[in-house]
Symmetry: none
Subunit: 417 residues, 2 copies
């Protein structure tokens, strides 16, 4: 039987969208380490009744409730009052807490404000939690079947109190579970295609848990395994990762936060090979992705952003006749860009892209989204034609990733043969 948690974030700066709540995700990750599953994050504004109601509901549904925020000294800090209301008790002054707050101000050589006194108030029957990183003490209370922790919303204080108080008081609930995470980066197939290949693994509530997310044009397959020992959790996660790899084959480019460009860089490095680029429609995007990887200089020489036709001609030696006969967005020009770049940079591989990113520039034969991607290497030059959907940036990003993936597949296959 799982232990469940609900995290409550208090503050109108959160509900109004002025601040992004990073506390709740942090707490969920820390709780997951103990095998405690977070059911929901409840972000509520600075309003006593709404905070109190959120607390009551949370304590009905979860054994652990963690509240961040609303412990400051000002009139809109209402978590203390809301907890007392939910518990049906009064706020009382905690003399030890008051002494600690006073000591905090003495250490900083500052006068304690009268309003700070409220920070030493506690719901009757609750316990103060010392705050080693700030003024406001936290609160621990039992409400219904739940353990309730209240900590400040300041991230540094929240993190410190999580380590000092929350996790130590929950170890008995961990049920001895240990968790292991794996993430596989996937490119070249749609999310629905990937999901249908993993349908049986992605059923809910199984261990290991398998899910997919899409970000920046690539798909991540996430695996979370749990077991009584860390070694066993890791073994299960690895086992499932292996099954996913087998099912998805070449679509998997890397693991645990690898980017496609990092995977390409590693393959190039393994072979002692170098890369250069000729980018037309992407305008530098491929270079930017490649050089986002620390240490890219070991395999990446550079590139030419050949936006104007005369740059294709003057810097990369594309014959004028080719440009006139076929247009810049064509198979022969993509080929010439790749071979021209490979020669001039004296690189092992050259990737070249030319296409119509839109919104302008399309003709009847050459619609927006039409892209030629060329790869020149020791074995010659190869061109792929694609038609990408979406707006200008989507086409450009997709083009950049497709080019990198073309090189990745080539390097992976060469290596195996």
């Amino acid at each position: 039987m799982d232990t469940h948690a609900i995290v409550v974030g208090v503050g109108t700066e959160l509900t109004s969208g002025l601040t992004v709540d990073t506390n709740s995700p942090y707490l969920s990750r820390r709780l997951a380490e103990l095998g405690i599953v977070t059911l929901s994050h409840q972000i509520v504004d600075d309003h006593v009744d709404r905070i109190s109601e959120a607390l009551l509901q949370a304590t009905e549904r979860a054994e652990v409730v963690i509240v961040t925020g609303g412990l400051g000294p000002t009139a809109d800090d209402l978590t203390r009052q809301a907890l007392a209301k939910a518990m049906g008790v009064e706020l009382v002054l905690d003399e030890a807490g008051l002494a600690e707050i006073a000591a905090f101000f003495r250490r900083r050589g500052r006068a304690m404000n009268r309003t700070n006194r409220v920070q030493a108030m506690l719901p009757a029957g609750a316990e103060a939690l010392a705050n080693a990183a700030g003024t406001a003490p936290g609160i621990f209370a039992r409400l219904g079947k739940a353990r309730v922790f209240v900590v400040p919303g300041v991230p540094a204080e929240m993190r410190r109190m999580t380590a000092d108080h929350i996790l130590p008081r929950l170890t008995d609930l961990a049920g001895g579970w240990r968790l292991a995470y794996r993430t596989l980066g996937v490119f070249g197939a749609g999310e629905s295609d990937i999901a249908s290949r993993l349908a049986d693994l992605m059923g809910r509530q199984v261990n290991p848990l398998v899910g997919t997310t899409v970000a920046g044009g690539v798909i991540s397959v996430r695996i979370i395994a749990r077991a009584q020992t860390e070694a066993e959790a890791r073994r299960r996660a690895d086992e499932t990762a292996q099954i996913v790899r087998e099912r998805l084959g070449d679509y998997v480019f890397g693991s645990d936060g690898d980017t496609l460009a990092a995977a390409v860089g590693r393959l190039l490095g393994d072979r002692g090979a170098t890369l250069c680029l000729a980018e037309s429609c992407t305008g530098g995007r491929i270079g930017q992705l490649v050089t986002a990887v620390p240490g890219a200089s070991e395999t990446f020489l550079g590139g030419v952003v050949c936006y104007a036709n005369r740059v294709k001609r003057d810097l990369l030696g594309v014959p004028e006749a080719l440009l006139t006969a076929h247009g810049a967005v064509s198979k022969p020009v993509a080929e010439a860009l790749a071979t021209g770049a490979r020669e001039r940079f004296a690189a092992t591989y050259a990737l070249a892209v030319t296409g119509i990113a839109g919104p302008g520039g399309a003709t009847e034969d050459k619609p927006v989204g039409l892209v030629y991607t060329a790869l020149a290497g020791p074995a010659g030059v190869r061109v792929e034609r694609s038609l990408f959907p979406g707006g200008r940036e989507a086409v450009r990003m997709r083009t950049a990733l497709t080019a990198l993936n073309m090189l990745r597949l080539d390097l992976a296959n060469v290596r195996e043969s």
Copy 2:
């Protein structure tokens, strides 16, 4: 009487803390522009009953409920089912929606997967909302006294659908107010500096409302004016925008969604001038920003990503002696890169950057974040030295923007004289 909203975010990747929810804050900010106050953000895991319960509770408390996520084609995408359950109806196939999804796949030249069919299912009585940025249609329904919108969790799709469907269907709740928006793009000063110059305008609850946000390294000053007529709202917004422009002077580079690169492109176009680039540490980022602007080809010729030293020498003519004597990250090399690029591309202006983005590559004299930015133009060449804080990507982005801003200020001043 305020109109209230509750935003529901669906996904185990959110409740487990693997992903930070930025959708709900975004939606709260957009709703606030209509005067709609968000009471809470409810983040729930991929579980039909819990999503359904969150929807029922939300619709009891708020007139507007917006749900993000859980519309994908996979087994753990359950928002559709949960909404049907909350409404007490069945899911039915929306033929028009199915045709749209099929068309999306045809355009991409890919086979539509059987699992994508589920994305065309709707709770009976609900309405599909076209998704111009992805596969999954959104959903609009009425539940109790509330209007419920469901949109995908992918931020780009969520934002697009907010503009296309959500805000237009809520304007009647704005209380007869007409709103006018202005956004000014600001670069070259910190957010706190900007805020202190605009302190009197940024007081809360005033009309026009003035606020700042930071994204992608630039600050946006947003102005929202409301009045009984559109003309009056626009007049007020323009008046405040003018005051902001006067206060911030040269820091303002553009308005209403302009990027720094777009502002530079316009200034170049006005003068019939052209631009080329020599990028070392940014690896193509400047080119990517410049070519993200549709029509960039009118003023942008191209660039060289000169990552390896021999590319700086062979393609841009930087003397080997200069590289040996001063190192690649130096004032003389930045200068040589800019003049070399300007000659080879026969451009009016050349921007060159060379720096240490980290984490490796630093020496005692040359720390991470050290960057030289050079601008070569008809009036000669000029170099600026900067020391940027932050990690690799922050340094690279800051470098790219600083280079573009250097050209912008130059073009703006030349024009005025």
